[in-house]
Symmetry: C2
Subunit: 112 residues, 2 copies
C-alpha cells in the first residue's frame, strides 16, 4: 500500500501535529509528526514503546537522554523505552519526522 | 541513539547492498537498502514479516502485489506478509530505501 500524504487527517497537538500513516499491528504503527516553526515537543518517555525517528524535512534539536542532537533531513535515531526525549524546532520552517512505533500501548507516555 | 551512517558495514548482494541501522528487538529492526544504478531487487515475499519502505534518495519503481509504483524521495509504502514486492532502479543513481522490518524471522523470504 502506498501512503497518501494528503488523504489522511492531522491530529493537532500543542505546537505540533501527528498523522497516522500505517497501522502495522495492534502494537506497532507508523506516524508522521510535524513540529511547527518555533515550537517544541516537551520532555517525555514511554514505559514500553521503542521509537525510531527519521528526519524527513527541516532542522531542529532532538533530545535523547542527556544529549541534544542537531537533527536534519536524513538523520536517524533510536529511542528505547524509558529514555527521555524531546524536540525543539527553533527554525522558521516545520520539522517533519517519520516515526516507527514498536510495542506501542495506551497510557504508556510519561510527560515530565 | 543516533545512527552513524558511515560507521557500520554494508552487506553486498546481487545488484544492491544492505546495512543494519538499529536492532529494535529479536523480531524487529531498521535497515537501509541501496539498489545500484540500473539494477534491481527481484520479486519475493515474506511469510510472516511486514515491511515499511521510505524512499530516502533516488528514483525507481517499487512493485507491490500486482502494481508498480513510481517511487521517489519522500514516498512511503507498507508491505504486508505474503505480498509480492520488488524494486527496479532504472536510473543512473543509487536508490536508497529506509526499511522497518516487523515480525522478522529467519528463513522467511520466498524468492520467485
Amino acid at each position: 500500500m502506498r501512503f497518501d500524504f494528503e488523504g489522511s487527517a492531522w491530529v493537532e497537538k500543542d505546537g505540533y501535529r501527528v498523522k497516522r500513516a500505517f497501522t502495522i499491528s495492534e502494537d506497532s504503527l507508523v506516524q508522521i509528526v510535524e513540529i511547527k516553526a518555533k515550537a517544541r515537543v516537551g520532555k517525555h518517555y514511554h514505559k514500553a514503546q521503542t521509537e525510531v525517528f527519521y528526519i524527513m524535512e527541516g532542522k531542529g534539536t532532538l533530545g535523547l537522554g542527556e544529549r541534544g542532537f542537531l537533527a536534519e533531513r536524513g538523520d536517524l535515531f533510536l529511542c528505547k523505552p524509558n529514555s527521555v526525549h524531546w524536540v525543539v524546532n527553533g527554525s522558521e520552517s516545520p520539522l517533519r519526522i517519520l516515526v516507527f512505533k514498536y510495542n506501542w500501548r495506551e497510557n504508556d507516555t510519561v510527560w515530565l
